[in-house]
Amino acid sequence: MALLQATDLCLEIRQKQILKNVSFSIEKGEVLGLVGESGSGKSMSALAAMQLLPEGATLKGSISFLGQEIVGLEDRKMNAIRGRDVSMVFQEPMTALNPTKTIGEQVAEGIRLHTRVGWKEAYAEAGKALERVGLGSDRTTMHRFPHQLSGGQRQRVVIAIAIACGPKLLIADEPTTALDVTIQAQILTLLRDIVREQDMALLLISHDLAVVADMADRVAIMKDGEIVEHGATTSLFSNLKHPYSKKLVEASSHCPPARRKPLDLTREPILSVDELVRSYPLPRRTFFEKRRRHTAVDHVSLRIAEHQSLGLVGESGCGKSTLARTLLGLELPEKGSVSFLGKDPFKAGGHERAELRRGIQAVFQDPYGSFDPRHKVSRIIGEPLFLLRGEISAKEAEKRVHTALESVGLTISDGEKYPHEFSGGQRQRIAIARALVTEPKLIVADEPVSALDVSIRAQILDLFADLRDRLGVGYLFISHDLSVVQAITDHVIVMNSGVIVEEGPTEEVFANPSHPYTRLLLSAVPKLEDVLKRRLNS
């Protein structure tokens, strides 16, 4: 008998069909991977197994856990199962913990609830769980609050909560998506070890094919609320049948076309940064302490030639966004100099300043958050044109907006719509059109594809490559995702703790990383091909 058997799950939320006849089963001690793009229904399948679906959801079908039907089971009985027999690890460690309770308290709470022991014993048990996830069980750890921990540490706490009562099934919904690559590797190893040690079954949900292929015994691929293909991991991936699965695998290792015209690096760079420093004050710990400062960017120098595409890689907090903000003129440099088109943008005033500003434009990670929801798309795209006021007529401005729309593959009629009418990928196209409208020399793209699904990501990367060849724009491409940087850039800079640790032509750096940190970063990213090769051999 399977540990968990879901049969013909149909889920409807507000008249919208989310799951269509989804069936899957997990055996004791087995790892099942559930892959799919956003909106495919993978998270809802997990919440259905926990019976924690959002309000207004109607679930039909059957889920049997250890022979007991849990669809429609009364909440009181389900409460006894949740946390004791089935538990869950969530995607967003930053918000998954109660900010007003200590982590010891939060781990002990579930133990107390299910084993009916006193606080003292529950704390001792909680200590063991925290120890197991690598946080240590001493009093200082137990008494810390979530905000005193990093994202990776918080995810460890969430895992400790989930495994504290020794559940038979652990559900992990995108457990590493919000984490840096090196932390991701640690968390995945931790999950794998715990599951093996305690003979737990794991339902691993991810959009990342390589992660799933690495961890799972069996994999199910989901699309639009249906499982399109499933099977044992290695045989499934070596013989994909469904066209969607094939498309997904292709998109995940997609590489946009290479540069057509060779770069001319001998000419004067369009952007040069010398010994840039930017630091922020930290809060005082005691009253009389001198204010300490955190140096986000520490003596960074870089050059970008015309048409060049430069990648900037690093983990969260390494200073890459501060650097980008300084280049965009949103942040004053403390020391060092910035020169764009031969001029210092922080000293330029009036007309000259507007001219420099229109030469450098930005694309951000979350396009929706950077649009005014009450503006039409044409107005959003045309907004940077105020930098050209007095120089171009209204008619010409309109023409520019139209050209920008067309260069990113949208139609002129799309300009009359509002941002909410577009999908995530189309919104990123709008953001790129807005950056293109002033005909800039350089686009600073800060994690431009991180929020997108793999197939959309492939399209946007192609668009960036196309614009580079067609319009000759240069890029500063900032990302934590090494495969993206590898695909689109000529040169790469690796940053760690505000300092550049390695730089060079992308191919060379990726093939032959010289700095240990670069090697660490590269080895931490699972690659589908390598993973499958390794699994086939073992």
Binding site: N79, T95, A96, N98, K101, H147
Partner: protein, 313 residues
């Protein structure tokens, strides 16, 4: 935590200093000669001059400010222009009416609002929630003096349960004194409770959508335990902000309510002092109210840190 407390206390002192300065300057520019007021229209010029000298009105503004502030620290608030008795005596009696009134109203509004708000959030979208929120809307809309008259009509005139006004003094015993404060406190508390309940509801509804609520449910906690153990404490943070702001409104409200119920409180004292241009009384009484409001804000700040560990550094 200690550093946070010290910083807040420093803020309290700075605010009090700024407030005293503003208050002093405003009353300085208001026309009207206290000596003339005290002696009447027919006073002789030399008696006026003598009185001015005696009241210290001829000294430069800076000296008078310093005298006023240092006086307040030693409990000497000056002599009332109209009653010719020490202002401290006047205020002292009244504070014993106004302070209990404001505190009872504050406690009452909190005690009503928080459970009502939680209940409303728990049954959000259901009939109970709609009913409570409609009631709260009415509570906000009704002017408190009109509500006070309504209370008098029901509880004093019709049911004859509680006195309709006046204050027997604490000498008459705790219960009779409290009895005469009940209706005014209810009249003061109702609109505040209505606002607070709405804030509590919306804050809790928002918190219930947080990820950590889902984590708590995944642990196996029931909906009810999740609401109380993980929801309410986090939802209290914005409620506290409003509570702190409301104390000032409560104090302002006492001016009207004390007039309706004929209570010899600070509000009425200030009201009378203003009409009689007894500026020395106004100055000190207002300063006292400012101090109490600032002090309550300080307490709220400390309560923030107690609830939210992110503020303790």
């Amino acid at each position: 935590m200690l550093l946070y407390g010290i910083m807040r206390f420093a803020g309290l002192l700075a605010t009090l200093f700024a407030a005293s300065l503003v208050l002093f300057l405003i009353l300085e520019v208001i026309p009207g000669d206290p000596a003339e007021l005290m002696l009447g229209m027919n006073a002789q010029e030399d008696t006026l001059a003598a009185l001015r000298e005696q009241l210290g009105l001829n000294a430069p503004a800076f000296t008078r400010y310093i005298d006023w502030v240092t006086g307040m620290f030693s409990g000497d608030f000056g002599i009332s222009y109209t009653y010719s008795v020490p202002v401290s005596d006047l205020i002292g009696d009244r504070v014993l009416v106004s302070l209990p009134l404001a505190l009872i109203a504050l406690v009452l509004s909190t005690v009503i609002a928080i459970p009502v708000g939680v209940l409303s959030a728990k049954y959000r979208g259901k009939a109970l929630d709609t009913g409570i929120m409609a009631g709260a809307q009415i509570g906000i809309a009704i002017p408190n003096f009109w509500f006070a008259i309504l209370l008098v009509f029901v509880f004093s005139i019709t049911l004859r349960l509680l006195p309709s006004g006046g204050f027997p003094g604490w000498e008459a015993g705790v219960w009779p004194a409290l009895k005469s404060l009940i209706l005014p406190a209810v009249a003061l508390a109702l609109p505040q409770a209505a606002i607070l309940a709405r804030v509590m509801r919306s804050s809790l509804v928002e918190v219930l959508h947080e990820d950590y609520i889902r984590t708590a449910r995944a642990k196996g906690l029931s909906k009810r335990s999740t609401l109380w153990l993980h929801g309410v404490r986090n939802a209290l943070i914005p409620v506290l902000t409003i509570l702190g702001l409301q104390f000032s409104f409560l104090i302002a409200g006492t001016v009207i309510i004390e007039n309706v119920f004929y209570l010899p409180g600070l509000g009425r004292l200030i009201f009378q002092a203003i009409t009689q241009r007894d500026l020395i009384v106004v100055k000190s009484a207002v300063m006292l109210l400012v101090a109490s409001a600032v002090f309550v804000t300080f307490l709220v700040d400390l309560a923030y840190a107690a609830i939210d560990p992110r503020l303790r550094r």
